[in-house]
Every structure is written in C-alpha cells, then in structure tokens.
C-alpha cells in the first residue's frame, strides 16, 4: 500500500501544476510550428521538446540539485539550510532561494554539498544547460560552424553594403530604449542588462542572442531565444509590408550592376582583417567574432577541409541538439510564465520591424547619394536572419521587376548584419556587463 502511495506521489498527475500543463502545450505548439510550418526546425524542434521535458511534473529535469532540494526538503533540512544562509526559515522558500542566489561562491559550494548529501542531484537538462550554455561554449561553436558556412564574396565585391548591416542594428538599440522606457513607465520590470539582452533579438541572430543573454540575463534566456528564432522564421511575413511601405515602385525596380569576381586570396585575408579590427577596437566581441572568423578562415584557406567539414556538420549538429534542449530547460513554467515574457515577445517584434525599416531607409539614402544604383530592398537583409532575409529581398524585388535578381546583392548586407549584431553584442557586454 505504501508502495502504491509512493508510486502515486511520484507520478506526474499527483504533482502537476496548471503552469506546467500550459508550458507543455506551448512546447507542443513550438513543435507544431517547427514541423508543420517549417519555422526554424533545427532549433525549434529541440527547444520545443526540451520545453516539454522541463515541465514534466516531479521530474525536476531543468532544476539544479539545490532547486530540487528546496522544493522537496522537509522542515528540518530547510532549517539547516536557512541557518547556513543566515536567514530565517519562516521567510519561505522563495526568500531562501533569493538568499542563495545572492550569496557568494563559497556559500554556493556549501549548499550544493548539503543538497548532494541530502540525496538530491542536478536534472538532466540543468546539466546540459551548464555545459552547453552557462559555459558559453555552444553559441561559440555554432558561430564557428556558421562562419564555416558563410561566403563573404558578395560583401567583398561591394563593401559599402556593410553600412546596411550597421543600419539594421538600430532595431537593437531602439528596443533597448523601449525596454528601459517600459520599465520607467512601470509597465515592465527590466534592468538595463535585461534590456540589452532583449534588444539583441533585433539582431536576428540566434547564437548571438543566446550568448548575450547567457551573460547579461540568464533568467530571460528562454523567452529571448524563442522570440529570436520564431521571428527569424517569420521574416517572410514581417518584412515585406514594411519594405513595400517605405519604397516606391521605381526604387524597387532598380537593377544593380553585376558583382565583380572576388579572388580566393581576398576571401582568406578578410577574416583576418576583421579579427585584427576586433582585437584593436572591441575585445568584448572577440569570442563571438573570433570563432566566426576562425570558421570562415578554415573554410576559405582550403588546406584544412576536414576540419571545416566537421565544423559545418558533425560538430554544429551535436552542439545544436544540446543547445536546443538547454534553451528548452529555460521554458520551465515557474520561470517562463511571467508578464516579462510577453514584454519580450512584444519588444522582439518591434526590434525586427525597426531594424528592417532602418536598413531600407539607409539603403534609400545610399542610393540617392551614391554613384552606382542600389536597390533599397536589399537594406532589409541587413538584419541578418541569413539567408531568409536575403531571399525576401529577392522575392519582393521580383514582384516589381521579374528580371531583377537581388539575391546575391542582398547576401552582402545579410552577412554584414551578422557582423553588425556581434559588434552590438560586444558593445552591450562592454557597457552593461562589466
């Protein structure tokens, strides 16, 4: 009978909370969008599945040993814990957790040892998160793989398009301002670090967003990553109306001169030039852009093809699996279901829209004052979301002029946008994270 009770108490049905049911439905929804609608499936399948796993009642997969101990501990154990933390046990488990978070590394270690001695252990997803994201390694490895898949040829043929990659990052900073503004109006409650991490959604670059939030706002990481990847998938819906509204039919018809041939040697030297500039000017962007340049150099140099192939395949795939499950661990109900999440989702789409608009407007300006014709539609590709945004530019361009193929021209601002948001990330970490 006792065993039956043990089994029942251990079952999910006996422990389930409404928030968990809701989050499992969110997880299923993400899987539906990824599988049926093709929304960034490589990330949203693992994230959605990880979100379901994180909310299995009683399994504690997304919690650390200390979290699990706090949720299950008996009064005697809690009293012992409160004594170590130097707070009163009557203040409740929320206060205990806050005291734990605020304590130093030595107290952390002591309480981890206490939880371990009491028989609690880290959940599977918590371990994945610690290894893949808290250490920072997974976004960096993905950036290396992306670098090894990136062709800077179109950018090198027309370096001016780097300005479009800069312009589109305005979405990031406008959103930071928005988040700070909402906080000062009392609608939301974001610190400046939170605001910076939320802004990066506008960079339209998943690993950059994850990297920055893992440093500046780990609690918001789940919502930020979900927003970033969802909106990246929605680029074909978000961007075209904005692009059409801000351009005239005549501008959309502009044909651009064919790109010059770029030599292999330029492609080999470019990542080194970029690296040196980063080294001299913005060391805080060095991990992200360093790994990106390293991947690109491995691809272009032509003498380490086995390493480049692995960076583009086995290594990035393995990392993506664990990165996705780890992000999913942040979809645990008691941390995700929060008014701030709605704020993040709202601000994220604003960031995308502003970034798109800025790119198009600066492209118009450059067309007006430059010597060679420049179709403003390629400005929207500056948000990154490689290669979706470039394809959107191409598609909208074809509507206006069926013989106008903008794809290659849009790849320049598109990869410039990756560099631009990594630079923005470095600035944020430098100004806010220090």
């Amino acid at each position: 009978m006792d065993n039956l009770l043990t089994l029942w108490n251990a079952s999910g049905l006996a422990q389930i909370a409404p928030g968990q049911v809701f989050m499992i439905l969110i997880g299923l929804g993400l899987l539906f969008l990824a599988i049926r609608k093709g929304f960034e499936p490589l990330l949203l399948v693992p994230i959605g599945f990880g979100g379901i796993l994180a909310n299995i009642p009683g399994a504690g997969l997304a919690y650390s040993a200390v979290d699990n101990a706090l949720q299950a501990a008996d009064p005697a154990q809690l009293a012992e814990l409160a004594r170590v933390l130097g707070v009163s046990v009557e203040s409740g488990s929320k206060a205990l957790l806050a005291a734990y978070d605020a304590s130093g590394a030595a107290t952390h270690l002591a309480i981890q040892q206490w939880a371990q001695d009491a028989g609690y252990s880290n959940g599977m997803l918590y371990n994945f998160y610690s290894v893949a994201i808290a250490s920072g390694v997974a976004p960096l490895v993905i950036f290396m793989g992306v670098g090894a898949m990136t062709d800077f040829g179109p950018l090198l043929a027309n370096p001016r398009t780097l300005f479009l990659g800069a312009a589109a990052q305005f979405g990031i900073f406008a959103t930071v301002l928005g988040a700070v503004g909402l906080t000062s109006l009392g609608v939301m409650d974001f610190s400046i670090a939170d605001a910076a991490a939320i802004g990066i959604i506008g960079g339209a670059d998943g690993p950059t967003a994850i990297y920055v939030s893992s440093i500046l706002a780990p609690d918001l990481l789940g919502a930020i990553a979900v927003a970033a990847y969802s909106y990246m998938a929605l680029v074909p819906m978000i961007q075209p109306p904005i692009m059409r509204a801000l351009t005239t039919e005549a501008e959309r018809k502009i044909e651009m001169v064919q790109l010059r041939h770029v030599s292999r040697r330029e492609k080999i030297v470019f990542p080194l030039v970029l690296l040196i500039l980063v080294a001299l000017l913005l060391p805080d962007a060095a991990p992200l852009l360093g790994m990106f340049c390293f991947g690109n150099l491995m691809k272009e140099c032509g003498v380490v093809d086995r390493l480049s192939d692995t960076a583009q395949n086995a290594l990035i795939n393995i990392t993506t699996i664990f990165l996705g499950l780890s992000v999913g661990s942040k979809l645990v109900a008691d941390k995700f279901l929060d008014i701030n999440t709605l704020g993040i989702l709202g601000l994220g789409i604003v960031a995308f829209a502003i970034g798109t608009a800025s790119g198009v407007l600066i492209a118009k300006l450059m067309n007006r004052f430059g010597s060679t014709p420049l179709n403003p539609l390629i400005g929207s590709a500056g948000v990154s979301a490689v290669p979706m945004a470039a394809r959107v530019s191409n598609k909208v361009g074809l509507e206006a002029n069926p013989h106008n193929f903008l794809l290659m021209h849009a790849m320049g601002p598109n990869v410039a946008g990756v560099i631009g948001s990594a630079v923005a990330a470095g600035v944020m970490i430098s100004l806010v994270g220090g």
Binding site: Q169, V176, L177, G181, A196, R264, V273
Partner: protein, 76 residues
C-alpha cells in the same frame, strides 16, 4: 531612461564606426591583394594546387580515399 539613451547613442555609434572602419579596411585590403598578390590563374574553386614544394599529407589522403571507398562499398 538616461542609461537607455546613452546605450543607444554609444552602442549605435560604435557599430557604425566599426563597420565604417571595416569598409575602409576591406577596400584597402582588396586593392592591395589585387595589385600585389593577384591570382596566378583561374584556380578551381575549392581545391587549389598546393604551392610548389608544399608538403601534402598523403597518409590522410590515403585514409580519406580508403574510407570513402569503404563507405561506398558499404552503401552498395
């Protein structure tokens, strides 16, 4: 709020300044490479001939080919 404005001004400024510098650096680099190190002749896109006297790692080549053949045989 002031903090947000500052972040926007300095952040956006840095991004634009950095990418402007990159435009300059890239343009200079391309013209230097084009003038002093032009491509000798049209190379195959991703398998350049090794420079004369260059060392090539045969063992890995042999390993790669044998692995490929092997896999090919397995796939049949």
């Amino acid at each position: 709020m002031a903090q947000g404005v500052e972040l926007m001004v300095f952040g956006m400024g840095t991004v634009v300044a950095f990418l402007a510098l990159l435009v300059v650096a890239t343009t200079v680099m391309s013209s230097l490479v084009g003038r002093y190190f032009p491509e000798p002749h049209k190379p195959s896109p991703s398998r350049p001939q090794p420079a004369p006297g260059a060392v090539q790692d045969d063992a890995e080549l042999v390993a790669a080919i044998s692995a490929a053949l092997h896999q090919h045989r397995r796939k049949k």
